[in-house]
């Protein structure tokens, strides 16, 4: 395993600065030609320790990360990540914690030779006044299929930067309200087709 702090990378630089000042370049046209660097931030109305503890239990992560199907904690340092792709295939890798400051920061990196080469860090810092916690997530990654896959995701809603922000918003909603907003499963006029196939189990369930 490479020594995380010894590499003068984009991420290390960002970690040393503690926050990002520039714009989200991944949203610009042709971003698939640039290195994959994601950084997003959200303010959660809970104390930093509470947010840190929730995140540090990696098995919680699939509760709000839409793309992560499962995280298996292997040891104090290593965990196995399983992502389901839209095609139905899944991608897995093992990540190791490279740095950790209780209540403040967690950094991780995939083991060398993994199918996915990724490193990331998440910071938890006290927000101004009584606003709670600023969560700042930074990641770099290379995914299977490389830039072609990246290009494909740009034509769907699952732009990686969007997805990262959506995941952080889901974390915020979960910790602030106890649930994640959804419309999955609500009725709409498209399901008349379902009724015709006699699959609409609860048609008129509230009637009478």
């Amino acid at each position: 395993m490479r020594e995380f702090q010894s590499e003068p990378s984009f991420l290390n630089d960002a970690l040393l600065r503690g926050r990002f000042g520039d714009v989200d370049r991944s949203l610009q046209p042709f971003s698939f030609m640039k290195p994959k660097e994601l950084h997003q931030s959200v303010t959660i109305d809970r104390p930093p320790n509470e947010v840190f503890d929730f995140w540090r239990n990696f098995e919680n992560l699939p509760r709000f990360m839409k793309d992560i199907a499962r995280v298996e904690v292997l040891s104090a340092e290593e965990s196995r990540w399983i992502v389901k792709l839209r095609s139905g295939a899944s991608v897995e890798w093992t990540a190791a914690i490279t740095d950790e400051r209780p209540g403040a920061m967690i950094a991780w990196r995939s083991l060398e030779g993994s199918e996915v080469d990724t490193e990331g860090a998440v910071w938890f810092s006290k927000a101004p006044a009584d606003l709670g916690t600023e969560v700042q997530l930074m990641m770099t990654y290379r995914i299977p299929g490389g830039e072609l896959t990246e290009l494909a995701t740009l034509f769907t809603d699952e732009n990686p930067a969007c997805l990262t922000l959506t995941n952080l918003r889901r974390l915020k909603a979960l910790l602030e309200t106890g649930e994640i907003p959804t419309i999955e499963g609500q009725p709409n006029g498209r399901d008349e087709i379902l009724r015709d196939r006699n699959l609409g189990q609860n048609l008129g369930r509230h009637a009478g």
Partner: protein, 390 residues
């Protein structure tokens, strides 16, 4: 159940769909008794909002009876008679705790989309496109209401539903528009548009102490309705210039506050498409009186322009120099409905406000599609439609 579904431009249909379920622990299911069609529903009907999907259930003004609650619901009970606000708020985030419910952080599952367009996303809305969450609306026999403890007003069982239905949107919207004017004794308030929100705004303006309200429109029936509440009116078809007319009527000073209850809408799906839609919408307004431009130019120095009319995109030719030069205050945004429902219910119960006067048509759900057509094409006769769901 039966529901009014958006099937495409100028196409609303009654469809049989499955009943809503409790999807989250703070949800409730409400059996809808009455729902109204809002002027802003016409923007969906006219196809201006591209993040609608065929089959989406319409409606954001509804009331009914709670028939099912989720395990985390604490206040509202099965059997309660409730009015449902059009905006969906979580009740826990900073914005909700500050009473800014329509700016809620946590109720739009498609917030990333709105982030791209506006920088930040407001709350989810019922029946108002996937940009605002894609929530199924209340023009249906049943509706799922997230965070029911925050998103409902329990009303007394004996009160006439037509007196409280509009607490869901147009009464709070008109009231907040008037409140945003910061009305002081002796003030004159001018209102662009004489539709349902304007009707509520003018009555609220008098309630808040305005000396005179001047309403501007060109539909005689709507102007008559404004006059019945004591407003002066201007039919803009009869005069050369609104600004000159308003100056003439206010001793050259201009109205102390101006309310734009017309608005214009341009929403979208991607940032680029939104930009295109916005440009199209701005072109559209060149064919009609530009209410916001007129309001800014007419308003007195140091006055307030209050904007309940909905804007979605980028505005061309806004006389910002005039707004700056006259030191105007501009106030706007979606209504924080939950903040106003209870105090306005008190006004209704006390008899100070009875918003039911605005209703011109009462229909069944089967007549819903025809009601949309009428509302879109006969704005003089058809001012407000209420649909009986049960």
């Amino acid at each position: 159940m039966k529901a009014l579904c958006w099937e495409g431009k100028h196409d609303v249909a009654v469809k049989t769909v499955h009943d809503p379920d409790i999807l989250n622990p703070h949800d409730a299911v409400v059996k809808v008794q009455a729902a109204a069609i809002c002027g802003s529903d016409l923007h969906l009907y006219d196809g201006y909002i591209p993040s609608m999907q065929r089959g989406d259930i319409l409606g954001h003004e509804a009331m009914g009876e709670v028939v099912e609650v989720g395990p985390m619901v604490r206040k509202v009970k099965v059997g309660d008679r409730v009015v449902i606000p059009f905006d969906i708020a979580c009740g826990s985030c900073r914005y909700c705790r500050d009473g800014e419910f329509s700016l809620c952080d946590n109720t739009n599952p498609n917030a990333a989309l709105a982030d791209h367009l506006y920088g930040h996303s407001g709350s989810g809305l019922f029946g108002y496109s996937h940009l605002f969450g894609g929530y199924a609306g209340g023009q249906a026999e049943f509706v799922r209401v997230p965070f029911i403890d925050t998103n409902s007003l329990v009303v007394p069982p004996e009160i006439d539903e037509e007196k409280v239905l509009f607490l869901s949107d147009i009464l709070p919207t008109g009231y907040m528009a008037a409140e945003n004017c910061g009305i002081r004794a002796g003030d004159t308030v001018a209102i662009w548009g004489a539709g349902p929100v304007a009707q509520m705004a003018l009555r609220s303006a008098y309630l808040l102490g305005a000396e005179r309200v001047i309403v501007i429109d060109h539909y005689p029936k709507r102007l008559e309705m404004a006059e019945e509440a004591g407003a002066d009116t201007i039919d803009f078809d009869d005069i050369d210039g609104i600004q000159d007319e308003l100056k003439y009527r206010t001793g050259g000073r201009g109205p102390d506050a101006c309310i734009d209850a017309v608005g214009l809408e341009a929403h979208g799906h991607t940032a680029l498409a939104l930009m295109d839609r916005a440009k199209a919408a701005v072109k559209l307004t060149t064919d009609r009186p530009d209410a916001l431009r007129q309001a800014i130019l007419a308003c007195k120095k140091g006055g307030t322009v209050s904007i309940p009319g909905v804007y979605g995109g980028f505005l061309d030719q806004l006389p910002f120099g005039a707004a700056f030069g006259k030191g105007l205050t501009l106030k706007m945004g979606q209504t924080h409905t939950q903040r106003y429902m209870e105090p306005l219910l008190d006004h209704v119960l006390a008899g100070d406000l009875d918003p039911s006067f605005v209703i011109t048509h009462r229909v069944s759900i089967e007549e819903g599609p025809e009601a949309y057509r009428k509302f879109a094409h006969d704005k003089n006769e058809c001012i407000k439609v209420v649909i009986q769901m049960h």
